[in-house]
């Protein structure tokens, strides 16, 4: 069984919002790049599934659409344990463009399970996973917080609005994963880092594809008025403010 994990390369989650070129771009100078947090959890779960001898998983591949600047992030994924990597050599222009690149790069490779994260932490698109599934005409299951394998049978847990469900489907399929899929993201060990250098990282050219959206202006949220402080001995003042000023209770 072969698992594919899509890997987004995103700024560290503590990155401040700064803009460039007349607020038309996010300013990424000096940014620390990381594996998108959900993709890191997806990869961790993929490794757990592979390591469990009861499972028939023999290969975990990661794919990224990005320029050469994404390679440290890809190497980190290899150090965590992925067997090989594909990089589609193109700037990820938008979700539709990215999904078309991923679909084209993997369509002939018979992956049984494709794991994508629920959203990327920079643009928060929540789009690529569903689009890849549609382009490959595969079953997709979203908001997945658990994946279990039993031979070639897969059982998934997903969040629905107001609860959760256990879902089964035939492979191959796309699981769009979120928190819960793995407990803690795995940190590469020294041995992994050494081995990652020798693992195959295939660079492929992008296919012809259009982008249908463009980010053209960025803005900071309105600054909040300063916090009103209330004496802990006079909690009734808070209740009165919530009732009469904010009118929320």
């Amino acid at each position: 069984m072969k698992i594919l994990v899509t890997l987004g390369n995103v700024p560290d989650t503590t990155t401040k919002a700064r803009f460039a070129d007349g607020d038309t771009h996010l300013d990424m100078t000096g940014v620390q790049w990381i594996i998108n947090p959900w993709d890191e959890l997806a990869l961790t779960r993929a490794m757990e599934l592979k390591e469990d001898a009861a499972n028939p998983v023999d290969h975990v591949t990661v794919v990224t659409v990005g320029t050469q600047e994404a390679e440290p992030t890809i190497r980190k994924a290899l150090a965590i344990g992925a067997d090989d990597a594909i990089r589609v050599n193109a700037e990820a222009k938008d979700a539709w463009f990215t999904a078309q690149q991923i679909a084209a790069a993997v369509k002939d490779q018979d992956f049984d399970l494709i794991l994508t994260g629920i959203e990327s932490s920079d643009y928060n698109g929540a789009a690529v996973g569903g689009m890849v599934a549609e382009l490959l005409d595969l079953t997709s299951i979203s908001a997945v917080s658990g994946v279990e394998l039993n031979g070639n049978e897969i059982t998934l847990h997903r969040d629905i609005d107001g609860g959760s469900e256990t879902v089964q489907a035939d492979l191959p399929l796309v699981a769009i994963v979120q928190k819960g899929i793995a407990k803690e993201p795995r940190i590469p060990a020294m041995r992994g880092i050494m081995m990652a250098r020798k693992k195959p990282l295939q660079v492929v050219d992008p296919v012809e594809a259009d982008a249908l959206t463009s980010y053209n202006h960025f803005e900071l949220p309105q600054p909040k008025p300063p916090c009103k402080m209330i004496d802990p001995e006079h909690v009734e003042e808070l209740v009165s403010l919530l009732q009469n000023e904010a009118k929320v209770i």
Binding site: T13, T14, L26, A133, S140, T213, S214, P232, V235, Q243
Partner: protein, 322 residues
């Protein structure tokens, strides 16, 4: 041509987010001079469907088939795209809910339509279509230009005020052939959250962090939530330690919520936590540390021990709620 609005029901009742979507879609349709068409999938009784009329659509369509009573991304995509093609939809609108996030990008890909998720308000411009959303987990807003024949949009919950007026809109049955092959998933178990207010729907949320010290101290949080009709939430370490169930985890890697009031008790206000709650209309912070970053995000703050402040707050709220 039309604006198509997908509405979600939960056990036969439409969600609040769906009412917001209909109000929003009706407004966009008006601006674009197009009819607003609402679509429901699955078995819903006529009374519930008629409620949708209050939010001003021109047409209410229902595809009554119990196979749609549970979410199947592929089947939903097939049905919604078929209806969209039928009415030549220029815009297809979803809520940015679990279902919307699961289905809308697939529908966009099938229609080869431009996709913009999680809108925070009405479009900035209609021609060309430019919409606004949050990026970097709430740290900034971005304007997105959409090109292409059609657009698929999702609306953030609590971002658009519903507009109600009584109306009597006839409900029409959709006649598209539903193919058994569309359905490729089987739901084998359901764990419904019962009794408690659902976090993503709640108007008020009371939340606890590591400053609450342990699960045994959640009594006053639950009592306060009970009094206010609020949902309970927590920070990530609290759910990681199993003090609280993981459904309560809010933040960048947990649930993103936008209630009218968020009460943060013993939460430091890390950037990743704020990413999930900063869209709340009002934030109250209770924390022993006057320099905790939560106070920068809060509207009202109390520097004090949550173990003492919360019980006092419960008593004061009791007085005004009676």
């Amino acid at each position: 041509m039309a604006v198509l609005i997908y509405t979600e029901n939960r056990d036969g009742k439409f969600t609040k987010a769906s009412f917001e979507s209909v109000s929003f879609g009706v407004r966009i349709a008006k601006e674009m001079n197009l009819p607003a068409v609402v679509l429901s999938l699955g078995t819903v009784d006529n009374k519930a469907l008629q409620v949708l009329g209050k939010y001003g659509p021109d047409t209410i369509l229902t595809l009554e088939d119990e196979r749609f009573d549970t979410l199947d991304n592929k089947a939903y995509t097939a049905a919604i795209s078929a209806v969209a093609a039928d009415i030549a939809a220029k815009v297809v609108l979803f809520s940015h809910s679990n279902t919307g996030k699961a289905v809308a990008p697939r529908v966009a890909a099938r229609m080869k339509a431009a996709y913009a998720p999680a809108l925070t308000g009405l479009p900035v411009s209609y021609n060309p279509l430019i919409v606004r959303k949050k990026v970097m987990s709430g740290k900034a807003f971005a304007d997105i230009g959409l090109s292409g024949e059609a657009s698929v949009l999702t609306l953030s919950p609590n971002a658009f005020e519903v507009v109600e007026k009584p109306a009597d809109i006839p409900v029409e049955k959709v006649n598209i052939p539903v193919d058994d092959n569309w359905f490729t998933t089987r739901v084998t178990g359901v764990q419904k959250q019962t009794g408690k207010v659902i976090l993503t729907d709640a108007d008020i949320v009371v939340s606890g962090g590591r400053g609450m010290k342990g699960p045994e101290n959640w009594g006053p949080i639950e009592e306060l939530a009970g009094l206010l009709g609020a949902a309970t939430a927590c920070s990530r370490p609290v759910s990681d330690e199993d003090w609280r169930p993981h459904e309560e985890h809010t933040g960048q890697t947990g649930k993103i919520i936008a209630p009218n009031l968020y009460i943060a008790c013993g939460i430091s206000g890390a950037i990743q936590h704020l990413a999930g709650v900063s869209s709340s209309k009002y934030i109250v912070a209770i924390n022993t540390d006057p320099d905790a970053p939560i106070f920068e995000a809060a509207d009202y703050g109390i520097v004090g021990d949550a173990m003492k402040v919360l019980p006092a707050l419960v008593e004061e709220v009791k007085k005004v709620i009676q």
